[in-house]
């Protein structure tokens, strides 16, 4: 068995995406800024890819800026909106406690530059409340940035509602949609989105390429200065092969979205149900308002990294919000933000499915996880204390 259940970390590229890239390596390899036909064929392809992506998002091709991925798009969106705000004396930004580090660390940088940051609570289900956003907006609010769907616990925010509130109050609304694009239906007009970040490798496209959508009239601040690419807002020879791969992957993901969702939700729910049979286990994130492929639980009394490694030896690729999986020593800020105590947050497991996973794999994973959790609990002094009543269970 070799089961890849870490699609939130990155995905396998689809055949369509790979095939879309190949001609641009050594056939139509010209620089789109070159005047000769090798360059102009490249420029035409670039134009087409931009149009395809814009149509899918529901925006104009001129509102698309290609970046090197989701992190760059998040950084540029936030820095741009902050700069627009600062010019008007607006130095307050609202975000949520469960954002990706690409957002949170950019906000920390802005804080050092005098911005005030309000992080909305995501509550136990990992979902921000529109009324709390409405209450938090101030006359000096320059930007609201709330992710579309969370990368760890999969919770999906009420984006259209949040966007509407921002629009009514005249505040720029950015959403980090890196985990959502290609997996849930998004239209920037219907969802009242002013700026949006996406990254191709989360929907079977290539790594190292992403998009920043910015509504007409929102001037971008360059992170990278130089050539006149991307209307002067992002220098660097365009990564055309990756852009073509991204466009193909997005087209495929979006056209298969209903089919994939219909397949994934039952798999996900079967998996969650199976895992919750393990005693003292809790689901992280909302049971319904969650990404079709995301399952995330905490097991009391064990630590996530050892769980991952043992699952890996059984052929299962998964992830954890355990501190030990990162260079940081604190467990996932997302799990802490939704109220999991440290010792429980260390024992988390994220399985993120793709449409390639099968029901047999789900059942195999449930059995394997049951075994491994029992094995680790059996050698855990924490579990012993819990069982002997020397500690009290956090998860009932």
């Amino acid at each position: 068995m070799n089961i890849y259940a870490d699609n939130a970390a990155t995905t396998k590229m689809s055949k369509a995406a790979i095939e879309a890239m190949l001609p641009y390596f050594d056939q139509i390899y010209g620089n789109p800024s070159s005047l000769h036909s090798t360059g102009q064929y490249a420029a035409e392809a670039l134009f087409m890819a931009r149009k395809i992506i814009a149509e899918i998002l529901g925006c104009d091709a001129r509102e698309i800026t290609f970046t090197s991925g989701g992190s760059e798009a998040d950084n540029q969106a936030i820095v741009s909106a902050a700069s627009i705000g600062a010019k008007k004396g607006k130095k307050h930004i609202i975000s949520s406690a469960i954002e990706h580090h690409a957002v949170l660390h950019t906000l920390e940088k802005l804080k050092k530059q005098g911005f005030e940051i309000t992080l909305l609570d995501a509550h136990e289900n990992g979902i921000v409340r529109p009324e709390e956003l409405a209450a938090a907006i101030r006359p000096d609010t320059a930007l609201v940035t709330i992710m579309y769907a969370n990368n760890e616990i999969g919770s999906i925010q009420p984006i259209a509602e949040l966007g509407k509130i921002c629009r009514e109050k005249g505040v720029i609304f950015h959403t980090d949609a890196v985990q959502a694009v290609g997996h849930v239906k998004i239209n920037v007009v219907e969802d009242n989105i002013d700026m949006l970040s996406l990254s191709a490798h989360k929907f079977h496209g290539p790594k190292g390429i992403g998009v920043l959508y910015a509504k007409k009239g929102i001037p971008l601040t360059n992170l990278i200065e130089g050539g006149a690419q991307e209307r002067g807002k992002r220098a660097g020879t365009e990564n055309l092969p990756a852009i073509m791969g991204m466009a193909a992957a997005l087209k495929e993901a979006v056209s298969d979205i209903d089919e994939n969702t219909a397949k994934l939700i039952p798999l996900r729910d079967r998996l969650i149900e199976g895992l919750l049979q393990i005693p003292h286990t809790v689901l992280n994130g909302d049971p319904k308002l969650r990404l079709p492929g995301n399952a995330n639980v905490c097991f009391e009394g064990i630590e996530g990294e050892s769980l991952l490694l043992l699952l890996d030896s059984k052929g299962i690729c998964a992830s954890s919000g355990s501190a030990c999986t990162s260079d940081s020593l604190d467990p996932s800020h997302v799990l802490l933000a939704i109220g999991r105590p440290h010792e429980v947050a260390h024992g988390s497991l994220r399985l993120s499915l793709s449409e390639e996973n099968t029901i047999e794999e789900i059942d195999y994973m449930i059995e394997a996880i049951k075994e491994v959790v029992a094995y680790l609990r059996n050698m855990s002094p924490v579990w012993r204390d819990l069982q002997e009543g020397k500690r009290s269970y956090v998860i009932q």
């Binding site: 630590e303 050892s306 355990s322 440290h342 010792e343 050698m379």
Partner: protein, 146 residues
């Protein structure tokens, strides 16, 4: 790979896992909040570690460090067990990633805590300087993680 083969071996086939009922010495270090707790049980006969078991809540390298540490002290005189260093544990495992070295530190501390417990229970005199004090280990319930 993140871990050496040795680490993976001791992680996936840990030696001396378990509990010794009525152990002569028990040492527990670490903090669940920080994601690792090690507990070592000793059976002492004539100042020799006749048996040793461990329980660990923690990452792969924490489990491997516990396993390796118990192997290194089993059958040894207490005096020798007290000379076990975190460095020796890490080396015996063919190295640990930099941010995992604290796991070998925990293993050294757990062994020492178990020996100290044996000394304390039996009213044996010892040099307090050999045992790390709580403040330096930084794993007290109130402390910050590492």
């Amino acid at each position: 790979m993140l871990y050496s083969e040795k680490v993976m071996d001791h992680f996936t086939n840990p030696r001396n896992v378990g509990v010794i009922e009525n152990a002569d010495g028990v040492g527990e270090v670490g903090n669940a909040k920080c994601g690792d707790i090690m507990k070592i049980y000793l059976k002492i006969e004539n100042d020799i570690i006749a048996d040793v078991k461990f329980e660990t809540f923690g990452c792969g390298s924490a489990i491997a460090s516990s396993s390796m540490a118990t192997e290194m002290i089993k059958g040894k005189p207490l005096s020798e067990a007290l000379t076990l260093t975190n460095k020796a544990v890490a080396e015996a495992l063919d190295g640990l990633p930099a941010h995992k070295l604290h796991c070998s530190v925990l293993a050294e501390e757990a062994v020492k805590a178990a020996v100290k417990d044996y000394y304390d229970k039996n009213g044996i005199e010892y040099d307090h300087a050999i045992f790390p004090d709580c403040a330096s280990c930084g794993h007290c319930e109130t402390g910050e993680c590492h």
